[in-house]
């Protein structure tokens, strides 16, 4: 359903949650993938992801092929750029495999030449920890190039080494249980952001906005691996002003893209 044409007969009824509303409109989803993922029982193609998003309230997304993080970062980045060239609603995200960080400089130069602004790190799949030399090298090169990091993993472990470096980082795996630790860092780091994906507490989003402001949150769904409606509903029902909601759903990412 188009967010511009909500079914108001339902949104105002007792099952109001059952149909999307304008408050669920998402300008940019920063956490979208496509392609094989062997731990899942089936894969999702780019065409299927596009179809899924087209039937949702998400208008645009930052996406990448799973080939980069799981198999071959150079080929995966090239595939992402090639595939998304024909997808106006999707912007390419690059990656560099921290297990082979001696090649990271080439990867980042290739991404910069292609105009890619976002570097997504997969420390969980690549079994990297904050102190690993390959991880640290890759991050240093990315920050020198002014790339925005889309960072998986526990912000309590990966956040502190990124503080004091002017880093623009979007933490993709912030759980509601870890919110206080993230906010302690975000109070000092204007470039630290987190997605609302797992901010599931009854006032997690509101507490984050109240403590550090809406500029520290963005929307990231992990489509197609996660259900989308729980996340858009959280933003819809959060006690936010329209400007705060728009910042999280759209404008904060637009600023990163500028």
């Amino acid at each position: 359903m188009s967010p511009d044409h909500p079914d108001t007969s339902v949104t105002n009824g007792e099952d109001h949650w059952l149909r999307p509303s304008p408050e669920e409109h998402i300008g940019w989803d920063v956490d979208v993938l496509y392609g094989p993922w062997p731990r899942h029982h089936r894969d999702t193609t780019l065409a299927e992801v596009r179809d899924h998003l087209s039937r949702s309230t998400v208008a645009g997304a930052l996406a990448l092929s799973t080939r980069g993080p799981l198999y071959d970062d150079a080929e995966g980045n090239a595939q992402t750029l090639r595939d998304l060239a024909g997808c106006p609603e999707l912007l390419p995200v690059g990656t560099a495999d921290v297990r082979d960080a001696l090649t990271a400089e080439d990867r980042l130069d290739e991404l910069a030449a292609a105009g890619v602004r976002f570097l997504r790190l997969f420390t969980t799949e690549q079994a990297a920890e904050p102190g690993f030399p390959g991880y640290r090298h890759t991050v240093r090169l990315a920050l020198e190039r002014g790339l925005v990091l889309l960072h998986d993993g526990d912000p309590r472990r990966f956040g502190p080494p990124l503080m004091g470096r002017g880093a623009q980082v979007v933490f993709l795996d912030l759980h509601a249980y870890l919110l206080a630790d993230f906010l302690l860092m975000a109070r000092e780091e204007p470039g630290f952001k987190a997605t609302t994906r797992m901010l599931s507490g009854p006032d997690s989003i509101e507490r984050a906005v109240g403590t550090v402001g809406p500029r520290h949150l963005v929307f990231g769904s992990r489509t197609p691996f996660m259900d989308l409606s729980p996340q858009t509903l959280k933003l819809r029902y959060a006690d936010l002003t329209p400007d705060e909601r728009a910042a999280i759903a759209t404008k904060n990412v637009e600023e990163l893209l500028a």
Binding site: P202, S204, M226, L228, S229, L233, K234, Y237
Partner: protein, 252 residues
Amino acid sequence: MPIIDVHAHVGRWQFHLSSGDADTNLAQLDRYGIDLQIVSAAEAVVYDAVAGNAALLTALRTRPRLLGYAVVNPNRPEESAADLRRCLDSGRFVGAKIHTHYPGRLPGTTEMAEAFDVVAEAGVPLLLHTWGEEVTLLPELVEARPGLRVILGHAGGDAWREAARAAAGCDRLYLEHCRTATDAGRIAYAREAGVPVERMLFGTDATLIDPCVSLGVIRDAGFTAEERERVLWRNAAELFALPQPLSGHPTP
């Protein structure tokens, strides 16, 4: 459409969020159109089962839209058996809840087997926190205890595939899918594995998790209206033998 939430809590959690008290539960029920909620005391889950159950009873006496699970501590089966009887005798409790993380006991331990015996003896549904491949042990544990019916809270967590297969193999296991990380395809997988929609229940984990998360899972599940009705309330009404129409449980 009526909604029964079979997995919720009353009281504070130790994280940076506002859990509130029992009136917070009621405010959330109103906000999302949930009619009844079956709750355990957070205090009983994480700290002191007997004291938490007693405090919950006080809250339940004046709130007919909330019904209770008495928390059973598998490390203390005799104490919990007596407490479970007291709670059920109050008329405000309709089931038992067993967590695995806080007492540090999983299915497969002697302590959990004894706790299952306690609940089976009481004859009420058990909401079990499930979060791992130990769910594969549940069919055998349940089959050995005639009449025991177990709700797999969180539907196994990360082990949702194993939980689905376990539930497919035992008609006294029920799936309830609340969790923060709402992995896509869990309900479809369970149905393909052979779990009938009649053994799927709606739960939220409120007030730890906002109910809209689980409502979103239902929205994305692709149920027909009839199936959605079963999951949202009819299955729970049958499992807990609740009066229909749903207008709150009578307070004794």
